[in-house]
Symmetry: D2
């Protein structure tokens, strides 16, 4: 990473739970983990059956294949060269179980979002984590984008003044039709309350939008009012969420999460306005941050380019004009985790500039989903967060 | 206009109420009225005092200057060569009075939006209009954009299927600071409940967004929940509105109107999604309509270009790639009005393809503002429309 | 226009040569002439035969129809209320003849581009114009765009430093196939050397690009090397031009004009780079000018918005965010002409800030076409301008 | 990679020449090599002195550090577990030497572009390569972008018809001022004829543009005419190149390479037009390909999205809407190389769908630079390619 001198350390040892053949997010985690050479994947319990797990591990060239996560947690904890960290990339209902087992054994956890399928699981996990001698990192990966770091730094520095408005949306179209009935494994579990939890679009992408809005704005949400919809007949979970937000200090916002808006792929977009200026960013064009100081022309700050500060530069790898993307942003979460883990090894706190989403963010996301569902049941009445 | 053969008719005679020196919208109406050669401005009561009115009329080369609108209504009604129509471009509280006087005398009215400052005035005006032998045209000018006509035709033809989502926003920044205390006449009356009515951003631009969403979608709104804010201290009317919408038939929407979002000038943006596709349009780049049939690449339809139909072509003047803008869209309202007025002269109904916003739209806009205020007072509870 | 107080003058009287039924540019001139209320079209010789001319005039409601331009020049010159100016909107080979007849009689000429079909005609016209007591205005209309005025002012003020690079292109697709054989009148005369002159794309749109580059940069072209192509079989004139440019003082440039580039409508785009910054503008999105001071983020200056100066504001009519387009830019040429004509009436020079393309620009354009053809015949060898 | 099942192979062993501390492109190669887990970096001669080389290797955790490339070639060739391939990431004048030494010993070479500093070196290298039992891969990395593969496939399939126009540009601004005198190592060697060769912008980025145009169009260039400039005083090599291109079969093109255009970072942009349609792509927004079938609206094809074919999908890793960037495109070159190397191991030809730039591309690039320089010396006369 630019600015930082490479260090002569060996890669950290990583295990993975979930992410076998056909899984989308497992492959992403694997690339993210190795992109900066910080992690080496050496152990896995990748599928729901021992056979599939072993086959997947072999296919991926992973040294140590386990039948299941418990065997892996126990096995690795016993080894001298056991894994430093585990990536949990299963459907939501399978987050808490493994996370607890690894945390209990002092193995750091890098877990996909949302935190869990249910609030009960989330609380249980939180309790274990609070006493564990291991880190918990939640891959709200969009916080890893350099221009998101830039935006956060600018807000914190007061460059857009006192915040008034937070407009965030995450818009997709892949569930416009009943993909869950047409053989899409991704669609199946993501629309299944047993595996996903109480939120559909809310949980799957709404939590990302919510997390990003909070991460960049630094604001504390106070209450929300949500109008959740199920547009595709037969679906059990919301595929569209319209949410009003109120923040401490008086800022207000809107959050829109949809999986039924044709023409949108991963339209995560954040717009923040204060009394001195505005910031706008879109995930599909992530190397730019638009800054409009009130009364001046809007300017385009480019990643690592003129106007971008050290917070963006530190998590950039290449010069401006050469686009970095989703995988690089995701890898930044892993790189931050690596820095924290290495510090932890030495009994030190993570370096001050290390930033990653934590269990607290995960709980906030769970509360967001829960509140959306509550509000929607009460006809979009306000629910305190 | 393309497709239509020019006709050898003389321009219609137009009068104007309001629009004297310093007014923004008066000049817009004048250009819109003459752009297609359909109207000639021959009479005016342009300002609040007889002296200013006459001076403004003289400066603009208007033949017949009146002291006030009543004198003008009476005077013109008496003349053989009296005006065919009057443009009312005063602040909101001064719409109903003149509109009623002209309508009563059979003079067509082209009135700026919102309809009036109060619902009481609106009802009174509606009553008069219902029995008058004259047309009432409300300049929700954005409905005049060719690609808005295109979008409307595509929705009506079922090209995006059954509608699910209506996302509309109108975002500005000019009231980010207290311009009304810094000498801006525009800001003064627009933030003054006496002159604007109960809505701030809601009335000034929210009504445009609301009207446009309904115009294009063809949907009937059922209820709304609104969270209105006043961010600039000392202001009496909302400068930001967050609104949830529900439509008959199950579609849902969000409407955002803001005058305090730095970096936004006239960010009116409409996005519609159905079960077969999506449409997206932005006023600041109005010559394009984005159409995403579900499962296909999104395509850019250009005004008068490939893929654009007769509804757009009829209100276009020049080839694609040569941008038309706000004034042309505004002029289309006048051109439609002219067609209707000419038909009325012959005792005929307006041609079937003539489209313009009417008193019903104005009442709907008033109800929108009223409902927003009611809802916001009830902590964003739902209000039936 | 913003900033300027409206004056109580009557419209100037305008005649038109050409522009009958089916002509594209005639309708544009008529709208441009009346948009600001500066001209009233009162006389015309609109078509190639007396019958058609009269029919067109009647259809357009033009008071005085003439059989041909000579009759009109003579007739109007005799009248006390004769036309102040004439718009010549015929194909290129019919520019010089009428222009000379009107100029000779002291009637101002507003002529479409390119100046003429042949250099001989151009010289003849120039000779007459040099002694005529009348103005000659060439409608290189793109110079009327506010952000082009803004760019020109910024270059002149040194804001991008010493100029190094001028990249200009005007790209269309409408002649990708042999439209001239498929009944398109526009295509017929524009691909016909008898009516268009020696240049195809070069003359029709290359001259616009060339003029715009010179207008904004203020540079004097020194030499060019051109590679002209005819891609559509059977066509007599170039439909694509690749041109290298050298300017006095050392700046260099590229000009690309094409009518066979599918997906492009009127892609006129200008990019200028100096040792202190860059400017970029595109006609299809004309309300923005991109300014990149070297080493700083690029910024978007909007018409009439923050960062735009008086040169843009003077020729703008409405607030930023409300797009103006092609017709407004074209109308600015007419508005400038009106100011110059009114000054001429009083025996005064045009106001200092009046800017419009003149006969000198027309001659430069003719020389550009001639040089392109010469260069291309010599295998893209350099030709001094 | 999507569509392909992961295989249980161990990573290939990679060495690196150059790429020590402070080098930009070395870090890029390292990430690209490991991104898909296809290569493991195990040996290096990373700097110009033995001391620096060893320090860099240690800092990067590279197992086997060598004093220089010759020692490395010899040493690795002797080892049973010697490297499979070497990445050469030195300045241009240091490409041929190491490439020859490794090729001679049957070690595959992955070399940065341009091929060499001089044509003589290039020929020498080509001679060695032609008889070596090892592959030579040139990292014209932009050919690795999925949407470039998509464009190439569409052209090959005739989707835009017979090609007429190839417009390509690569525009930067980082040499607008004399960075080479201000301490930039990158600028120093890139503006130094001893280390870069005869081309400045021409060699550094012009070769990329030229290669990309040929790669996608499939056309064979026939001749060029180049106008090279040095705008920054004291510079020895061109910092701007204006080039006209002619291709076999009659297509023509323009190529613009500049390092002095403020506001441009890595503006590599390719536009191709045939008699049936057009394609447009920009490196700074690489996940989209614009396709305009003549007479239809232009459409935006997204990487891995609707309308994208297997050629793009095969080199994509993640779903559409999640942007991939420069590093992923670069990694695709490495992944293709890995597939070819693995096939070579088995004595098989590379799979048919494997595509990477070769020595022939390198020679073509060298000839491009040479021809540009020749042409420019002859005042932009045509030079046959």
């Amino acid at each position: 990473m630019s600015g930082g001198s490479p260090t002569p350390h060996a890669p950290l040892r990583l295990g993975m739970v979930g992410g076998g053949a056909g899984a989308f997010i497992g492959a992403v985690h694997r690339i993210a983990a190795r992109l900066d050479g910080e992690f080496q994947l050496v152990a896995g319990a990748l599928s729901s059956t021992p056979e599939k797990s072993r086959a997947s591990a072999e296919a991926l060239g992973i040294a140590r294949a386990y039948d299941d996560y418990l065997a892996m947690a126990k096995g690795e904890a016993r080894r001298k060269d056991g894994i430093d960290a585990v990536a949990i990339v299963t459907p939501n209902h399978m987050h808490a179980g493994p996370a607890i087992e690894f945390l209990k054994r002092g193995i750091h956890v890098i877990c996909d979002k949302p935190l869990t399928a249910t609030m009960a699981e989330a609380r249980k996990l939180a309790k274990v984590a609070s006493t564990a001698d291991a880190l918990f990192v939640l891959t709200h990966n969009y916080t890893g984008y350099p221009m998101i770091r830039q935006a956060r730094a600018m807000v914190a520095a007061g460059e857009i003044g006192r915040l008034r408005l937070v407009q965030v949306e995450y818009v997709q179209d892949w569930l416009t039709e009943a993909a869950e009935k047409a053989g899409s494994k991704q669609a199946e579990w993501r629309t299944d309350p047993e595996r996903s939890g109480a939120g559909g679009a809310t949980g799957d992408i709404g939590t990302h939008a919510y997390n990003l809005a909070c991460f960049v704005s630094g604001l504390t949400p106070e209450a929300l009012a949500a109008d959740l919809s199920i547009f595709v007949p037969g679906r059990a979970l919301d595929d569209n969420a319209h949410v009003l937000l109120r923040f401490e200090g008086g800022a207000r916002g809107m959050l829109w999460a949809s999986q039924v808006a044709p023409g949108n792929e991963n339209g995560l977009r954040l717009r923040l306005y204060g009394d001195k200026g505005g910031l706008e960013w879109a995930q599909e064009d992530p190397n730019y941050l638009w800054h409009a100081p009130f009364g001046e022309p809007r300017r385009r700050i480019t990643r690592n380019g003129a106007g971008a500060g050290p917070e963006a530069g530190r998590v950039s790898r290449i010069p401006p004009g050469h686009p970095e993307g989703y995988l690089e942003g995701f890898a930044n979460i892993y790189a931050e985790a690596a820095r924290a883990i290495r510090a932890h090894r030495k009994g030190e706190p993570a370096p001050e500039d290390v930033v990653f989403p934590t269990l607290a963010d995960g709980l906030a996301g769970m509360r967001f989903v829960e509140a959306c569902v509550q509000s929607s049941r009460r006809n979009a009445g306000w629910v305190t967060l």
